[in-house]
Subunit: 330 residues, 2 copies
Amino acid sequence: MTTKFNNVYIDECYTIASIYEKDGPISDYFDLIYDKDFYYGCDTFEKAEEKMLSNSISKLINRAKVIDSDVDYVISGDLENQIASSNYAMRDFNIPFLGIYSACATFGQGLLLGANLIEGKRANKIIVATSSHNMVAEKQFRNPTEYGAPKKKSTTWTATGAASMLLTNRKKRIKITSATAGIVQDKGIKDVNNMGAVMAIAAADTIKRHLSDLKIKADYYDLILTGDLGIYGKNILIDYLKDSGIDLSKNYDDCGLILYDIKKQPVYAGASGPVCSALVLCSYILKEMERGKYQKVLIVPTGAVFNSTKVFQKDSIPSIAHAIGLEVIN
Amino acid sequence: MTTKFNNVYIDECYTIASIYEKDGPISDYFDLIYDKDFYYGCDTFEKAEEKMLSNSISKLINRAKVIDSDVDYVISGDLENQIASSNYAMRDFNIPFLGIYSACATFGQGLLLGANLIEGKRANKIIVATSSHNMVAEKQFRNPTEYGAPKKKSTTWTATGAASMLLTNRKKRIKITSATAGIVQDKGIKDVNNMGAVMAIAAADTIKRHLSDLKIKADYYDLILTGDLGIYGKNILIDYLKDSGIDLSKNYDDCGLILYDIKKQPVYAGASGPVCSALVLCSYILKEMERGKYQKVLIVPTGAVFNSTKVFQKDSIPSIAHAIGLEVIN
């Protein structure tokens, strides 16, 4: 189902990034870069991620000149088991909290929920946030980085940082125009080192339904962006949609290939993690929309909603993607 | 923030329970009991939980005489890392999926989101679902049950089962009247064997805000129900609220003490798990509301939103509770 919005705007954002993001092509667009190490002044990587997320929300609140009680809900999720970064970070705020999980598509699901709540007049101001941390994710899903386990070239590199966005019903430059919720897809792929292939299916399904529901073609948008398919997943998606008569060759890119330069950085197939698409959207894309480079953008955060236990039990890897339409108001 | 609803009704529910729930006081109210073992015909406990959840949703769809495309969203979450039961079960449906996580308060958050989306005319029919499985949760959060690790008397027993509810904008006997979203609480408790104490704080905060926002007293409801505080948490909550001038002595109970009989069953302080409050609500409470025993009920699912890694790192345990008001229409 694709829902449309007439009264949902982006007020402000705040982005925090780390070492690998600083070395990438869009580092000038971030609000804060912590490049000393992966600890962000904390004892553990987990506390570092929690602090990044908390800081991104509190700095957003300051920037938007609101206080806790002005914000109806914070909607946030992350890759840590039990979305711990979000749950623990929310101790720092006196704001009702709605925890979500959609793997690396989490920020997309948050925007979809936030926009629907505001459009339905069930809230006036909602903060949508997410984070990820390379070392936290590697430890949890693969091996602690210190083990030095080799990686396949089709793996992606979990981005480190936090991003938050304040949605409002008050008129601003950029509005959210539509949202298509993902349907879980699973074509039987079991390779945890090739998430791009796993998620391309979900991106294809959601983009097809989005365009069909709104009766528009892909060139309606100046830019269509997937979340973190990486170079292999990106090419698979282009092929999938070509078979459905949808041409993505002109106006399509993947956030995982915008956040990092895979030719220069040791990040394999590109960036991933829930903060990947959130960082790219909340910094580079929105600023370039304001500057006039893009007027209509469709962002499609993509998530592999798997679990290590299920993988060890030889189950395949499901995926999901949510699409969010954005437009500059003239 | 407490939001009110005028057009959100409960259409149908479907509950599946297991061995310990069969031995409890309300077993006659469940739709399906699988009491052969904890495998539900599957190879692993994890697959059993996934199948229970999937079956509960598909049987709900049959009972309500709808098809996948009639349902705008399924909103579901569970205790498994990456809410895997929900994500994997959703492979069986062609319905947009929104994954949520609020520990054992997940069903409450689902009802809150579903009701707001329907009241705001952003959806017509939404399925809210959850599951938990004792053996899956023990393995993930404590030790595999087969190890035989002793338990403290203040621990609760994760319920096994799945529950799903279809919300609709069409008039039915029972309506959802209000919802108060939780604010994360943390008073520094670190004892993972006493979740009742951890969560009582969150229940107190949410109930206080709910009553204050709506300018009503506790006796407005025929019954106030917390999710899974157990016997110790229940008494702590009564004490907390007595200090705030709120008397819960007459019309308050905890779902964890309704699902199991702690005097007869070896379940320590009571039942817990996201399915605990969902099972009690979707079977016993709704049926007794229809029969006239209760007219106005406030259910407050409670969750300890912690993470094993954070506990090992000596962090304290945050908690959250969401309140949902229900009423029989005459």
